[in-house]
Amino acid sequence: MDKRTEMHRRERRRYVIGYGGSLLLTLAVFAIAYHFGIETTGVYLTIGLLGLAQLIVQLVYFLHIDRRRSSREDLDLILFSTLVLLIIILGTVWILGNLAIRMHGM
């Protein structure tokens, strides 16, 4: 019984840490946007990196994804989907961006 309460407390703490971290990152993103204005690529790059950090925080603390004892095939599924996603997004942006430049001569 005692071990159970301990495990419960540990898992709940994990969620609270994930929430705190995500909250902090969200506040940072909107504070930067409010303070510096959303105009330059530098500001956007910072916002993008903070967003990426929040994705990782939530994957680890909410979805419990890590390299430890997880079974390989499930992790392979996630990694492969990410690869497909990157090919789709980067490929689309590359090809259509190139086309836009050729059509409008921007």
Partner: protein, 210 residues
């Protein structure tokens, strides 16, 4: 003594406390991950379309006229908090906490989900008043293809929450219901991940480059 596997698939695990439910949910949880990942690819396509359409405003209203960052901020906090409360609901069920606690976290999550949808609908109506309707430009078509798709997922999640609440009442805390609640928690966390993509790419990206 043989130990039950404590962590046999990524994501939330039931663990040895619910050994039979754990075994039964292993296969369906993997199947659910397959669904989530194909859904992710679908969202990815919509994101790619939006990125290529940012400049295609055709003289219509753009991100600066249409996006209301205060409302986006509120929606972000609401969705993030609901991601915590759905996790707490799942934990309350996993550790057999009193029913009142489970119902409380279910209710809070549902209330947050619904208020997110209300705020989002208000945004869409405000945008439509300024002429920001889907058929106005390629940019707006891409926007309305992506953001309401996420909203539709949240609405489906709310419905799912209600159905599971009823099942919990009728069927009790059976293995089947517990494993369903776990999948709902996965789905809800997944929607919060998509939302991070939406605020970063759709809103901040649109305001920077639109």
């Amino acid at each position: 003594m043989k130990r039950a596997p404590t962590h046999s698939y990524p994501g939330i695990n039931l663990g040895e406390r619910h050994a039979s439910a754990h075994k039964a949910s292993e296969v369906v949880t993997f199947g659910f991950w397959v669904f989530l990942m194909s859904d992710l690819v679908y969202f990815g396509l919509m994101f790619a379309t939006y990125i290529t359409m940012i400049d295609a405003q055709a003289g219509g209203p753009g991100p600066h006229e249409l996006f209301d960052l205060k409302s986006i901020f509120a929606q972000t906090l609401i969705l993030l908090t609901s991601s915590l409360t759905v996790g707490l609901a799942m934990l309350a069920l996993k550790y057999n906490l009193p029913r009142a606690r489970i119902v409380l976290w279910f209710g809070v999550t549902l209330a947050l989900g619904v208020s997110f949808l209300v705020l989002e609908m208000r945004d869409f109506l405000a945008m439509a008043e300024k002429g920001g309707i889907p058929q106005r430009s390629g940019f707006l078509s891409a926007y309305y293809g992506l953001v309401p798709l996420h909203g539709l997922h949240v609405a489906a999640g709310c419905l799912w929450l209600i159905v599971l609440g009823v099942q919990l009442r009728v069927m009790g805390m059976t293995d089947l219901v517990i494993s369903r609640v776990m999948r709902l928690a996965l789905f809800w966390h997944f929607l919060d991940l998509i939302w991070i993509g939406i605020i970063t790419i759709v809103y901040f990206g649109g305001l920077t480059y639109g």
